[in-house]
């Protein structure tokens, strides 16, 4: 049995925002098709867009949370990583104040993620030290 379908999405690279269809076969990405009805790209993509699926299944993807122990990054469960962050962050901001924290957000992450990271920085930690690398 082959299960093939396409999913309408937006190119992950430049700010032009071309519409594309990800081709999915048996749960894996196998290709990209340009969207014809998106008025920005009108059925066209550049070479980066055409190959936008290729990095997704790279064997180098990070697959587990990592925590530095004795100088080395080791795989851990989510709970351990999250409670480590919570206790460290609390200790640092309690000792040095909220302005000892800063966050760098990303022009490659979604609106929702950017919104949440700035909300976390401002509302949970209590500092406006947040910026992104979009100037670069």
């Amino acid at each position: 049995m082959i299960n093939y379908h396409t999913v309408y999405t937006t190119c992950p690279y430049c700010g032009t925002g071309c519409g594309m269809l990800l081709e999915v076969m048996n749960g894996r990405l196998v290709g990209v098709l340009p969207c014809k009805t998106n008025s920005i790209n009108q059925g066209k993509l550049c070479i980066k867009g055409w190959s936008a699926h290729e990095f997704v299944h790279s064997p180098e993807r990070l697959k587990k949370p990592l925590l530095r122990k004795d100088g080395r990054l080791e795989e851990v469960e989510w709970d351990e990583a999250l409670s480590f962050i919570a206790s460290k962050l609390k200790a640092i901001t309690q000792t040095h104040g909220p302005d000892s924290f800063a966050a760098l957000s990303s022009a490659k992450c979604t609106n929702e993620e950017n919104y949440l990271l700035q909300k976390f920085t401002r509302a949970v930690i209590g500092t406006n030290n947040i910026d992104h690398c979009a100037r670069l």
Binding site: C14, G15, G49, L67, W78, L136
Partner: protein, 527 residues
């Protein structure tokens, strides 16, 4: 962009300045080529003779970093000749007299001397841009990545307002954003001085609205910018840093300094999809999913809020970025992070950000919507500033030419320009793991003008050591007249020979953008 990408097809004159459009934004270039097919005039202003420059009706080979002088020079001619839009200037702008006074200092002869562009070409460009009915400006990082980045942007605004080429179909000022969600991350206030939707931290009503929604008291003091954060690590102010989806150990200027700063942190949290150079320095790493494994929205360079959609299940034990931030907040015991899906987060955004108030996942199911979209039945705003500017009148801000922070001298005789290659993206963490793209090119290079190559006896393919006051890298020589004699160009996607070892961390005083486009280097043959 004040206009939409596809509107460019209807422009009758397009001035491209500081944008290697065919390499960095190929689909925008497609619309520009279609405009040309319909008879549009193309003016390219760039220190490099880029691919699109070879199709231009007029190419002005400016010296690096002289954009303000060129634009002031064009405005000088336009006003002297009476080619400006008198009605637009009278009805919609203020400060024209001050602009005129400053422009007295930019007669063509002086501008030609500063910029290296002949007077005749300045006149041609001024006439072509001003006298055509629908002219548009397209610009990119060649304008912004300078210590005078803000001045450059202001002078382009002056040019478009004086000629009335703004607030119309196919006519406006159009910055091209380098990464897919530059616009959105700024809209969402992942910046230190405003709240989401560019709402002021100094406005009590705004702050109370957010405090009521989030159930907290908010800090009012503006935060630090990226480069200030990096600086504050060394001196001890910043102890903990949360980096989401970025790779400052490659993307920031003077990276040897940046790496030392990151190493000095008590806590470095990095959330990413690949083991980047920044991940290698982290204390804790949170593995996120890629764009194909999650839902969300991106905003295009023309303010269009579009969807990304989950196509496959998360790979390994990874989680969507939005969920990870909620998990961290929950671990801290914080409320206000109980979201079941990105559409719920988007609904909260729309309830707090007037520009987005009328947008929802239902409305952007098929086509994106361009903000501002204040109500549920408001249409896309295809182009901005139609009958008035958001603040009422547009103000001319006269800006004087200032030289770049670091110019060549005897010891470091070449100008280094950094930028993008057409086959790769940003720090390469995604594109360098894509076999179609690495098959095209997978190592760094330096573009050297044939005259300089001859003088220094450099052959194509030879390894060259580039050295600046901050460090050195070794890359392969490409001999090409794309660059001017006296300048070299290196793309910044290659972490192992990172161009940012060389770059100057001098900043624009207002928005703190580093001067990636100009620093001084010397060339040595690597043995």
């Amino acid at each position: 962009m004040t206009n939409s990408v596809e509107e460019l097809e209807d422009a009758a004159c397009i001035m491209i300045i500081g944008s290697n459009t065919t390499a960095s934004h190929p689909i925008v270039a497609m619309h520009i080529f279609r405009a040309k097919e319909k008879g549009a005039k193309i003016i390219v202003i760039d220190p490099r003779k880029t691919h699109i420059a070879s199709y231009a009706d007029l190419y002005l080979a400016e010296k690096s970093g002289t954009d303000v002088a060129i634009i002031n020079g064009l405005l000088h001619i336009i006003i002297k000749e009476g080619w400006y839009d008198k009605q637009f200037v009278e009805e919609r702008t203020e400060g024209f007299v001050e602009l005129k006074t400053l422009l007295e200092e930019y007669p063509p002869a002086r501008v030609a001397e500063i910029t290296g562009v002949p007077e005749a070409q300045l006149r041609q460009a001024a006439e072509m841009f001003a006298k055509t009915k629908q002219s548009s400006i397209v610009y990119c990082m060649g304008i912004t990545q300078h210590t005078v980045g803000v001045d450059n942007v202001l002078s382009l605004a002056n040019l478009s307002m004086a000629t009335g080429h703004i607030g119309k179909w196919a006519s406006g000022v159009n910055p091209l954003r380098g990464q897919n969600n530059v616009q959105g991350s700024t809209d969402m206030a992942a910046i230190p001085n405003v709240l989401p939707g560019y709402q002021s931290l100094a406005d009590d009503a705004v702050v109370s609205k957010f405090e009521a929604a989030w159930g907290v008291t908010l800090p009012r003091k503006p935060g630090l910018t990226l480069m200030e954060i990096m600086g504050a690590i060394g001196t001890g102010g910043i102890k903990a840093l949360y980096v989401m989806g970025e790779n400052p150990a490659v993307s920031d200027p003077d990276i040897q300094h940046v790496k030392k700063a990151l190493e000095a942190l008590e806590l470095l949290i990095v959330q990413d999809i690949f083991p980047t150079e920044t991940v290698a320095l982290a204390h804790v790493v949170l593995p996120a999913v890629s764009f194909a494994e999650r839902d969300g929205t991106f905003v295009t360079t023309d303010r269009r809020v579009q969807r990304i959609r989950k196509a496959i299940e998360p790979i390994g034990d990874t989680r969507p970025g939005w969920q990870i931030i909620c998990d961290v907040a929950h671990a801290m015991g914080a409320g206000g992070f109980d979201f079941a899906s990105p559409s719920e987060i988007f609904a909260e955004i729309a309830s707090l950000v007037p520009l987005y108030a009328g947008i929802s996942y239902e409305r952007i199911a098929e086509n994106g919507i361009q903000w501002p979209c204040p109500t549920k039945d408001a249409p896309s705003t295809v182009f901005l500033h139609k009958d008035r500017f958001s603040k009422g009148l547009g103000t001319f801000k006269p800006v004087a030419y200032k030289a770049p922070a670091e110019l060549p001298d005897e010891e470091y005789p070449f100008i280094l320009i950094t930028g993008r290659d057409g086959f790769h993206f940003h720090t390469g963490s995604m594109t360098r793991r894509s076999k179609s793209l690495t098959a095209q090119i997978n190592r760094c290079y330096v573009q050297i003008h044939p005259l300089d190559a001859k003088k220094l006896k450099i052959k194509a393919g030879q390894m060259i050591r580039l050295r600046s006051r901050r460090g050195a890298i070794e890359v392969e020589a490409r001999i090409t007249p794309i660059v001017q004699s006296g300048s070299v160009f290196v793309p910044f996607h290659f972490a192992e020979t990172a161009a940012n070892v060389l770059t100057n961390p001098a900043l624009d005083p207002v928005v703190k953008i580093p001067e990636y486009k100009i620093c001084a280097v010397k060339l040595e043959k690597a043995t």
